[in-house]
Symmetry: C2
Subunit: 430 residues, 2 copies
């Protein structure tokens, strides 16, 4: 039995125990983890410095080394993150549906943990802490694989989380760290043990995982987000929202990558937007019509995620063309329309097939924290299970509990008894 298989088997066994833990038991374990990380912060920083040294020796780029850094302030931020998870309501045990099927035969749909979750992330060590504690809160066991650049930091964090939580009553084996790429390959095949894979990292990385896993994957490969300036847009708002969508933080998935403008207003509005973007050092890539209005490079690929100070510009005939362009070239992540015409906005929001459709605001709003979910497990561009920013509820599923008093189906099939299907008011509902 391989190590990964043994870890997955242990995680599955632990998950059955975790499904029965109360909110208090889980929060006590989270408190213990937060305290242990604080107590051992000097050791963590020491291990992190080994990773930083190796990164420098191997010539890792400065931005990647920055992501790798796990210093006192990042440790304190992680601990604060755990405390905010403690304050969230327990997502498990909520009644989602209740029906009296007949006297003495009551059906409940109740939220419960998913089971075992496999998490694969690139360098950032704070991701390990965040996702492990979110999974614990939702009652799930986890297999974790972090980037090899952060191997020392990941190892000590996983050890601290495991020891502190088990000491506080969590079942042994609920958390395991995988350390090689071949172990990840093996994990992706263990669909009898692992219920969901959450990859966090670059586009290419997530796409690789999605294509090589027989287990459902929660995540998004890319965010090719659009700002569409409709002919009835207020020009000043169009400038302000395009600039914010593109430049407020360029390296993230909900930053806009493509600007669409209605042809009828393009010669007036595009220069205003282009100038404002260029003031922020954004390089533009446009279609022929855009280039005729404002000097810019030619666009290569409408499905391009720059994640940088660059933006594609396309002049469209009308709203239908804009919607068709987004549904063809977008990634189903986040798309915004700017218009003062409510009918046009409602059509856009219904016809654009994306997890987040926005009217007169920045694409940068599509985010679990900004939406008020209290936590963000990730953003999903899948339409199955969870879509858009995913909070704690993306880490639970449900089961049907049917409470009877001796009923057979034969009594109903023969017509002796009849179903009533009366709704029961929800207790602790969602």
């Amino acid at each position: 039995m391989s190590e990964v298989y043994a870890s997955a088997d242990a995680a599955r066994t632990a998950s059955f125990t975790m499904a029965g833990l109360s909110q208090d038991e889980k929060n006590r374990a989270l408190e213990a983890i937060a305290a242990a990380i604080f107590d051992r912060r000097t050791n963590i920083i020491e291990e992190n410095s080994k990773d930083l040294f190796d990164a420098e020796v191997s010539g890792l780029s400065m931005p990647l080394r920055k992501r790798l850094l796990f210093d006192e302030s990042k440790i304190l931020a992680s601990i604060e993150g755990i405390r905010s998870i403690i304050s969230l309501a327990d997502p498990v045990g909520r009644q989602l549906l209740a029906t009296e099927m007949d006297e003495g035969l009551s059906l409940y749909r109740v939220s419960c943990p998913i089971g075992v979750i496999g998490i694969i992330f690139e360098s950032r060590p704070d991701a390990l802490v965040q996702i492990a504690t979110l999974c614990l809160k939702a009652g799930n066991a986890v297999l974790l694989k972090g980037g090899s650049e952060a191997s020392h930091t990941n190892r000590i964090l996983a050890d601290i989380i495991s020891a502190a939580s088990i000491e506080a009553g969590m079942p042994a084996g609920w958390i395991s760290l995988l350390e090689s790429r071949s172990q990840v390959e093996e994990m992706l095949t263990l669909d009898a043990y692992i219920d969901l894979i959450i990859p966090r990292g670059s586009n290419a990385f997530v796409q690789y995982i999605m294509q090589h896993s027989s287990i459902p994957v929660l995540g998004h490969a890319d965010g090719v987000c659009h700002v569409y300036v409709h002919e009835k847009a207020d020009p000043a708002m169009a400038v302000r929202l395009t600039v914010d969508s593109k430049t407020q933080y360029v390296a993230v998935c909900n930053a806009a990558e493509t600007l669409l403008i209605d042809e009828s207003i393009a010669s007036d509005v595009l220069p205003l937007i282009a100038r404002a973007l260029e003031d922020r050092h954004v390089i533009l890539h446009g279609c022929k019509k855009s280039q005729a209005i404002w000097p810019m490079k030619n666009v290569d690929d409408w499905h391009h995620e720059y994640l940088d100070y660059e933006m594609s510009v396309h002049i469209v005939a009308d709203e239908d063309a804009a919607i068709a362009h987004i549904n063809r070239y977008g990634s189903g992540h986040t798309d915004a329309i700017i218009t003062s015409d409510k009918e046009a906005a409602l059509l856009f929001m219904q016809a654009v097939d994306s997890g987040n459709v926005l009217w007169n605001c920045s694409t940068r709003f599509s985010d679990g924290f900004k939406y008020g979910f209290g936590a963000e497990v990730g953003i999903s561009t899948s339409k199955i299970h969870a879509r858009g920013p995913v909070g704690l509820e993306g880490l639970v599923t449900y089961k049907y509990k049917l409470f009877g008093s001796g009923q057979t189906v034969d009594e109903y099939a023969s017509g002796k008894k009849h179903f009533t299907h009366r709704p029961i008011p929800l207790v602790n509902g969602k």
Copy 2:
């Protein structure tokens, strides 16, 4: 461009239009389909007789030929099925969450169609009608592939449904029929066009689809369901519920396949249950301890779905052993405990990792119609998206709609504005 690719592309385009259809528009199309099937019933029966003739010539077994038969009474039942789908509430456009993020910035989570659904089913032609009309009700486009034994019947049914619904206003291309196995293979790879695959058929068939699709699959491969007779079970109830769970309809996924009995009561209770099962011609396969109490065959495999008058019997040390057995050998479908001990029942219902966990009633109850869902898309043993019996809500997803009035993220990041995250009462909520 292959035919499948062209169909999938057309379905995806049609799906954007379908997302905007009102409940009335969809119901009118469903009425038109029902009327057209009724009007053309003679043609349908004629085409079906060709399939029946071919089936007889090729020596198809009698049960399979029975499933293939689509006579007047089955046609009328299908039409009645469409009318019951018309009477269901529209699953699209429901507010699932509403939050005022700030003044003039309101977030709604709203149900919407999934998009394009690929459906693969074996011989029964009534499955084609049911699943196509359920998909229409939920606003989804469909690619259908039926069993080749039913090719004439499927062809005419698909033609009637397509023509009648398009005449009634549905977009062209919303429904297509695939006719070869190689087309199915191709469909399973079109993850950019198809959002969900629903296979209906035998265990081996569904397992094949699940293993060969990069698209999410909704379904269950098998139903290895358990009845667990706890030491505090009422013996008469244990006999009645085991007999019903096993024999009320043996060929279905929620029929019980394995009986577990607590060791402390086995010598008293097993003979009662065994006699009652044998009176119904059930052949028993047991563990050594069971065989010591009642003569029966030796069991070969605890994960065996008989779908017949056969049952495995296992004597367990206690409830923990029963739960461990079910979580190891079951299929996560439906499992029942029989006991007068409420604590034992609640433990079982929480620790058994199945979509349906039942107390003191027959496993045969786990079914969308019996649960009162009004329609059943299928039963899912996946924990992702939909679990247990799946009604219309399994055919929809949701999107986030954010209504702003010019807000940038920069205003919030810089502290000029603050999120309020005030819940908004749901209109047309679920």
